[in-house]
Amino acid sequence: MTPDRPAGQTALGKHDIAARIARDIPHGAFVNLGIGQPTLVADHLPADAGVVLHTENGMLNMGPAAQGDAIDPDLTNAGKIPVTELPGAAYFHHADSFAMMRGGHLDICVLGAFQVSASGDLANWHTGAPDAIPAVGGAMDLAIGAKKVFVMMTLFTKTGAPKLVSECTYPLTGLACVDRVYTDLAVFDITPRGVVVRETFGPTVDDLAGRLDLPLIPAGD
C-alpha cells in the first residue's frame, strides 16, 4: 500500500504500476528503464515478450540483476548494479549509446519524476534546493531521446501536493517530452488537446479533477 493511497480506493502500489506499464510495452520493443522504481517494470515483462532492454552505460539486451557468482564488476546497469547479459546482447561505448538514445531509436523510456506539467515538461533531476549539489546523469538525454517517454510516479507527494501540474516549479529536465504518466491513481496521456485520463484506479475523473489544478479530459471525449 502506498502512503498516499486514499482509504477505500484501489490505488496501485509501485509493483502494480510497474505491471500496468509492462502491459503497454509491445512485443519486441527496445526499452530503457530509468534508475529507481522504473527498473521494477522488468520484473513484469514476460520472457516471451521479446522486449530488449537498453542500459545507457553501453549495452542492449541486458538481463536481470546478477546474483552470487554471476556478479561481474565489468557488467553493471546505469544504476551501477551488477546485471547479466542475454543472448543477442551487444556492447558499445558511451557516445554510441547516447547517440542511440538521442537519435530516437529506443521505442520507450520509463522515468521517475518529481513533477510533470500538462504540456509534458518533465522535472526529475533537481529539487531546486539552494544547497543541493546539481547532478543530472543521463536524465536529460533520456527525457528527450526515446520515441515515447513514460513517467512512473505517485500522483501526489507524501504531503499531498500534486505532481501532475499546470507548470513545473522544480527545474526542468526536458520540455514537452513526456507522452504518458502512470500513477497509483490513474494513467494520463499528454496530448496536444490537454491531459487525457486514460484509466483510473479507484477515483473518478471528477475526483481527480478536484485534487489536481489542471483541466482533465476523460478518455474517449
Partner: protein, 222 residues
Amino acid sequence: MAVQLCADADEAVAGVQDGSTVLIGGFGMAGMPVELIDALIRQGATDLTVVSNNAGNGDTGLAALLAKGRVRKVVCSFPRQSDSYVFDELYRAGKIELEVVPQGSLAERMRAAGAGIGAFFCPTGAGTLLAEGKEIRVIDGRTHVLEYPIKGDVALIGAHRADRMGNLVYRKTARNFGPVMATAATTVIAQVREVVDTGALDPESVVTPSIYVDRVVQEASA
C-alpha cells in the same frame, strides 16, 4: 521493434515508396547490397533520392537503377568513375540532380541523423565551392561549415553475418558506410551472407546492434 527475417530480397524491399530517400551502402563493390538494389528495381519505386558514396558503375546495381530513370537525385562524394557512364549521360542530359558532399562529411551527416544531432560545424570544405551558400563560423581560429543531417527513409546495406535478432557484423573494409547508414534511416534493410542463431555473435564484436535493423535477408547467391 523485432527484426523481420525475409525469405528473399523482394520481400525485404517491399513497400519502398515513390519519392523516398534511399541510403545505399558500399564503397566500390565492397559492402554493396547488390541483391537488394536489384530487388528495388523490380519493386518499382521511383522519383528516389539516392545517397551513396558513388553514382554507380557499369550497367548493374545502382547504375541499372539510374538507367531505369528511377532516381531524381544522387547525393554522393564521387560520381565520376571510369565506368560511371550511365550516371554521366543522365547528368549531362540534365536528367538527374547531383549533390556532391565530401566523403567524411557525407558519413558524418548520416551519423548526425542517427545520433539526434541537429547540425554541426565542420572544417571540411571551408573556403571551397562545396561550402558555397552554407553558414560559416570561425571557431578557435578555424573556419567551419555548418552541415545538416542526411536522413534516409530506407537504408539498403550489405553485411557479413546477422543473428536472428538482427545484430550485424561486417567483414574487413566492406564495413564502410553500412554501420552509419543503419543508424540514419527509418527502415533499415540488410543483405547478409549468413544468418546465425541468436547468441552466436560475440556481444563485444557486434558492430550494428539489432535496434537499428528492421529487415534481414540472406543472399540468394550465398
